[in-house]
């Protein structure tokens, strides 16, 4: 009597195994559990709150878990006018967030300083933190925020996450320095 050993593909467990790439799995997990750090600094924060409410319901995208601790959040949504006095705080909170982390500049003020061409206002949060998605509007409607967050999901989907798993991620350069 001889025993047969099956190597490789086993037809008996077919249907319970999914073959995929590690990147695809990791990115799928990451982009559907983006926990935002609500950096609400001005009126954009009101729209951010509206996006969290039931009408717009950001939890459809797995982003309803607004974390007020930078240690627990993945994506900083800078919603509002960043003054030079606040810039220090924004950068420190960004530094305290664990990798991988992303930044969304919500609205005109966070993107470029907006209408505040003034001595007190930082002319775009990308001068102190690397921004992934810019959302136009003053303030943007919640739909625009959701669209921006979906674009961020697209961006996360195309990252090569496996490569960075077993080594330290390099700190990202600021966009205006690369240019």
């Amino acid at each position: 009597m001889s025993t047969t050993t099956e190597y490789g593909y086993n037809s008996k467990v077919e249907g319970e195994v999914v073959v995929s790439r590690a990147d695809a799995v990791i990115n799928w997990i990451r982009r559907h559990s983006v926990w935002p750090m609500p950096m609400g600094l001005a009126c954009c924060a009101i729209e951010l709150m509206a996006a969290g409410g039931s009408r717009f319901d950001i939890s459809r995208f797995g982003m309803e878990v607004m974390r007020f601790s930078p240690r627990q959040s993945d994506c900083m949504i800078v919603a509002g006018t960043v003054t030079y006095k606040m810039a220090e705080v924004v950068r420190r909170i960004y530094d305290q967030m664990a990798e991988p982390k992303w930044v969304v500049a919500m609205g005109a003020c966070a993107s470029t300083g907006g209408m505040y061409r003034s001595y007190a206002v930082l002319q775009g949060v990308d001068r102190i933190v690397p921004v992934d998605v810019y959302i136009s509007g003053c303030p943007p409607r919640p739909e625009a925020l959701l669209d921006g967050m979906m674009r961020l999901q697209e961006k996360i989907r195309n990252e090569s996450s496996t490569r960075g798993l077993f080594k330290d991620r390099k700190a990202r350069e600021l966009a205006y320095k690369e240019a």
Partner: protein
């Protein structure tokens, strides 16, 4: 006590008080040294129990350069009065603090100090309230441009890591800037060019009150 009553009593008691040109409220100029006595009189005897506002005026090339302005309100009579007093020194202006009369004056005076650099003598805690400690300018003075001056960021470590500085803000251009055309009532409310906010000379056309600006020929 009606308005005329406290007016007569005030001027009888403090002969240094003079009427100040005003389009709305009763307004008085008062000498620097008597300010606290006058405000105490208005609070205790004339019924102005609420301090609405403390601010200042910069007359730039005149002397006295700085004037501190107080707005008082009587909650019983629903009546306002405006008291103005010139500051002592043009280079390092000083005014007496009234934070002991109205606690509300505390933060108002801090803001006035922050924006104009007026030192309120006797203030319990005179620090900047809006700009950060160590900011070298007073932004609401006339010689300060709206765009600001280049200085270092308040946090040296963040400045070192990011290379960011406090830079003069661009007055024109950029992705969110609509073209300055069309009637003023319909376009974005912003300064036309830097000469409006800087101390440079204006164009001859713009210096005229009804000069040929674009709102004249633009309603299309």
């Amino acid at each position: 006590m009606s308005e005329t009553d406290f007016t007569t009593a005030l001027r009888e008691r403090f002969p240094g008080v003079t009427e100040r040109p005003s389009l709305d409220l009763a307004a008085y100029d008062c000498p620097h040294g008597e300010l606290q006595d006058i405000l105490r009189y208005l609070r205790d005897d004339a019924g102005f129990d609420m301090l609405m506002d403390v601010t200042a005026i910069d007359a730039y090339e005149e002397s006295p350069r700085f004037t501190v302005v107080y707005h008082l309100f009587s909650t019983a009579r629903r009546e306002y009065v405006r008291i103005a007093t010139p500051c002592e020194d043009d280079a390092e202006p000083r005014a007496p603090s009234v934070a002991d009369l109205w606690p509300a004056a505390d933060w108002h005076e801090r803001e006035t100090y922050d924006m104009f650099g007026i030192t309120f003598t006797g203030h319990p805690d005179l620090r900047r309230i809006l700009m950060w400690d160590g900011y070298p300018y007073f932004p609401l003075r006339k010689e300060f441009p709206l765009a600001g001056h280049e200085v270092d960021l308040p946090a040296p470590d963040v400045a070192e890591r990011t290379g960011a500085k406090v830079l003069p803000a661009p007055m024109m251009g950029g992705p969110f800037h609509s073209p300055q055309k069309g009637p003023m009532s319909r376009r974005e409310p912003r300064a036309d060019d830097e000469s409006w906010t800087e101390t440079r000379e204006k164009d001859a056309a713009q210096a005229l009150p009804d000069g040929p600006r674009d709102f004249k020929h633009s309603d299309t």
